[in-house]
Symmetry: D2
């Protein structure tokens, strides 16, 4: 399990005083960015060096307890599925008291950067993702 810690920022709250729902997706992507870096696939490699990309084709989230600016949170991430040309990540958001405040998951597909067509997940990435396979 990969863990990412952060704090809710003022600009992530809205006029209701709580985290705007779309920003929970931004937060889990920050966790994803950090996880990918930790397994040798910093997202910058997908810009310059690698000939494939990993666009998100599905994302969903549940919201259980509202968060406000300054709240410390922990996001646990696991790889729940590795397919031929896609993988799924599951995220659990916990507050300072370790209470689950929300969950999310994202499905990523591997595509060739030129043709934009689906390709098999490269073995090197598959192996790297195994690190956090649950």
């Amino acid at each position: 399990m990969f863990t990412y810690e952060t704090e809710i920022k003022w600009h992530q709250t809205d006029a209701a005083g709580v985290l705007f729902f779309a920003h929970q997706f931004t937060l889990i992507h920050d966790a994803y960015q950090t996880l990918m870096q930790s397994i040798g696939f910093p997202l910058s490699r997908f810009i310059q060096e690698l000939n494939y990309a990993l666009p998100i084709v599905h994302a969903e989230a549940d919201y259980k307890i509202p968060l406000t600016a300054g709240d410390q949170i922990k996001i646990n991430v696991t790889v729940t599925k590795i397919g031929n040309s896609s993988f799924t990540l599951a995220y659990t958001l916990l507050n300072k008291k370790n209470v689950e405040v929300g969950t999310a998951n994202t499905i990523h597909v591997s595509i060739d950067k030129d043709s934009k067509k689906k390709i098999n997940l490269p073995v090197s990435l598959m192996n790297a993702l195994q690190t956090y396979r649950c």
Copy 2:
């Protein structure tokens, strides 16, 4: 069916040159904001006047065709479910050629602003939502 039109903004794209996935949720919320205004429930009423709020408890989205800065899009919104204390909205995003580029839905729950407890959907809101019930 309610329709909201907008254009993908430069700041909604990321280093891959396409709409960042979380911003599709922001865009559908912009459509929701406009729909609510059109049926007599501008979101500002939930700040000042009304004693209930409508937090999102679930959101999900599918991504079919990437969007880039300057793309004109249309978001069609329908109310797909009206429950005792919740309602569900479904969104379809179409590009200039009327091709579906993504879909999404959000579930909103009515809560008392003071107790934060679930309450029945007020009849006035229920009736207003019927306008776009499919």
Copy 3:
């Protein structure tokens, strides 16, 4: 003078209930995006076709009256300076009653996309910018 009209979105407000200051910069960039499109330089051209870019090297803003979600605003844009390798845009934000709620300006420099070095403003862009020169 170029005019861009929009509405303050819910997600652009923060826990104080008003437009988050950084989003005023996002809003003026939306106006800039629309202006550039109107003079034949949609920002997408700087990605694919043109060999130069126009990064912002300076930006500033004043805030006079707070804005809330749902507020209709108008942003007037003029080109206040065209130099050899830079230009300056000035923005005035007005509310529904035509009262000035904020101002801003941005300085853009023309650089070669490969060398990242400053270059002279292309004549075609210079001429196009004259449209809104004050």
Copy 4:
């Protein structure tokens, strides 16, 4: 001098592959949020407990070196001016090699939350701000 460290997030970059200019303002506000917490004035106090607010009335920034997703940055913050009813913060952004990539400053005014009128900076806040006065 107060120091805040962070990493450029994927969603803070745009189709040019670099940090979108408005997000530099967001980043310095994150530094401000952390500074305020460190001197006993977490921003949440301005929502619930304190009867005054500190809106930004002016902000400006310079951009020297573009930043990309994954870049580690350090933001140094100092209080450069404490007036009767306002204070000014100056920010310097440094990359991993300690090279200045940008600067910014913000002017904050103290207002009464009810009347929205300017008030004197409370002495407790004035004293707290002295911690990072340069």
